[in-house]
């Protein structure tokens, strides 16, 4: 694995000031150094600023203080070298799978025809060969999320931002897609920032797990997961896996009892 840093957050804070109300700290002084091709998961309770973090990295939000650097350039506005997967697939219902995957290319004002082969490859990669011309309503929730993963990868982004991408899926589909995602990641070697509220999911996927505390949101600890790759379901019963999940649980619940 290359050790070059691709994403660097330097004491990044975000404070919302709504009219007449007191300030709300969405994220407090977060620093993080993400290496190239690293799989980072961010775990914490609802409202701990996980999604805010992704919006900051993609440049959709500007930090109140601190700096973010992505691929050697500071993030000052929306960045097109990120791929985003949201909790719901949000596919456009009037577009086929293939047309949905090509949407970012159209937004970037690039020639869709040139990217069509790539889009088809990506759909095959996520296991949707033969569904290129299917409309979203003909696809299951899991299949729709696969399309949205292809859409996030089509512009060949430096970093893949995933905001609880499997949160709306049933437990079985969720498990299946987790391993699919790992397989895709092994094949395409992307840097991934993956937000989740499932502790086992966070440990299973990650090289490092960033544990966040709620309000004010800050990093409680960053835990290295040294389980070998490729990861398997059986590893969930290993002592190392259990140690990691226990430690995260303790960090999260301890903080909650304290407040």
């Amino acid at each position: 694995m290359s050790s070059a840093s691709v994403l660097r957050l330097d004491s990044v804070s975000l404070i919302y000031k709504s009219r007449g109300q007191k300030e709300l700290t969405a994220l407090q002084s977060m620093s993080l150094d993400v290496r190239d091709e690293e799989f980072i998961t961010i775990v914490g309770q609802s409202g701990c600023g996980k999604s805010t973090l992704l919006r900051l990295v993609s440049g959709l939000l500007a930090p109140t203080t601190g700096t973010i650097g992505l691929a050697g350039r500071p993030v000052t506005g929306p960045r097109s070298d990120v791929g985003i997967v949201f909790q719901s697939p949000v596919l456009l219902p009037w577009r086929t799978s293939l047309e949905n995957v090509l949407l970012p290319i159209e937004f970037l004002k690039k020639d869709s025809a040139q990217y069509e082969t790539r889009a088809r490859e990506l759909l095959a990669l996520v296991g949707l060969k033969g569904f290129e011309n299917a409309y979203p309503r003909a696809l299951s929730g899991g299949m729709q999320q696969r399309v949205s993963i292809s859409r996030a990868l089509v512009s060949d982004p430096r970093i893949l931002l995933m905001d609880e991408p499997f949160g709306a899926l049933d437990a079985m589909t969720r498990e299946e897609l987790s391993f699919e995602l790992l397989r895709i990641w092994e094949e395409r070697k992307k840097t991934v920032l993956f937000v989740t509220h499932s502790i086992p999911e966070a440990v299973l996927l990650a090289n490092r797990v960033v544990v966040m505390t709620p309000r004010p949101a800050r990093v409680a600890k960053i835990i290295e997961v040294n389980l070998p790759r490729p990861r398997t379901l059986a590893m969930e019963f290993s002592s190392e896996f259990r140690q990691a999940t226990d430690e995260i649980r303790e960090l999260i619940y301890q903080k909650r009892q304290a407040t």
Binding site: R55, S58, G59, L60, P78, R79, S80, V82, I84, F86, S88, V90, L92, P93, W94, L103, P104, E106, F107, L108, K109, Y135, R137, S155
Partner: protein, 254 residues
């Protein structure tokens, strides 16, 4: 009787049975009590009078249809336009939305005579009344539809530095289409009502005029015939819009 089996019939079957039964009942009651023709005509009299109207029903139907469609078309263009304006600028919204609400709350029947004095007895004032009666639901549904576009896809557009126009054209407007059609379906029924209001207030042609004039001349069967044609017109226009929706917004089907 097994009611389950009835569900397998085409959906138009039961309403048609009800309609035929009611018409037969109507016919029988008028017959049995010898109700005079000019008070309540029997369905058979209405049909007879409508067919032998000397071309009056087709002529006046055409006029009303023209006013309705012209007014509805103008309302569609301006209504969708205003809906877009309202959601695209806070300033314009704050400026114009209250005015639209005021315009909407004035009873159109009250405006109609004024318009007729200003614009004369032709079709133009009717078209304007049709427009006034039916544009508001189109504005509101367009605005609501545009607001309902998936925020995440708009974020995606923003992160890909898509132009506002591209985001509008590829995401916001198509997302709004199903809602716009909700407004259009409400509006097209109102449009027929608007045309009749205009014709009632003052005109020398159209189905509204035909209803008034035949009532005043004790040609009650013809008046009923005109009302029936009006109902059919409304239904056909409604299903016309629905057909257009099926063609333009195939993804909104259940």
């Amino acid at each position: 009787m097994n009611y389950d089996r009835l569900w397998n019939l085409p959906s138009w079957f039961l309403p048609t049975v009800a309609m035929v039964v009611l018409l037969l009942l109507w016919e029988a009651v008028v017959d049995a009590f010898s109700i005079p023709l000019f008070v309540i005509p029997a369905p058979s009299d209405i049909l007879h009078a409508s067919i032998h109207s000397g071309g009056r029903i087709p002529f006046h139907t055409f006029i009303t249809l023209y006013e309705t469609i012209a007014g509805f078309a103008v309302a569609t263009v301006i209504g969708i336009g205003l809906g877009i304006v309202i959601v695209s600028s806070r300033l314009l919204r704050d400026m114009f939305f209250p005015l639209l609400v005021i315009a909407q709350s004035v009873p159109k029947v009250a405006i109609a005579p004024v318009l007729l004095i200003t614009l004369g007895y032709g079709e133009l004032p009717k078209i304007i009344i049709v427009f006034l009666v039916c544009f508001f639901p189109i504005v509101v549904s367009t605005a609501a539809g545009l607001e309902s576009a998936p925020k995440e896809v708009l974020d995606l557009a923003r992160s890909m530095s898509a132009t506002t126009f591209d985001a509008f054209r590829k995401v916001r407007f198509p997302s709004a289409m199903p809602q716009i059609f909700v407004g259009l379906k409400v509006a097209v029924i109102l449009a027929v009502i608007g045309a009749i209001i205009g014709e009632f207030v003052g005109s020398d042609r159209g189905l509204g005029y035909l209803i008034l004039i035949s009532m005043s001349q004790a040609e009650t069967p013809l008046a009923f015939g005109a009302i029936a044609v009006l109902a059919i017109l409304s239904i056909l226009l409604f299903y016309g819009v629905e057909l257009l929706e099926r063609i333009l917004v195939p993804w909104a089907q259940d």
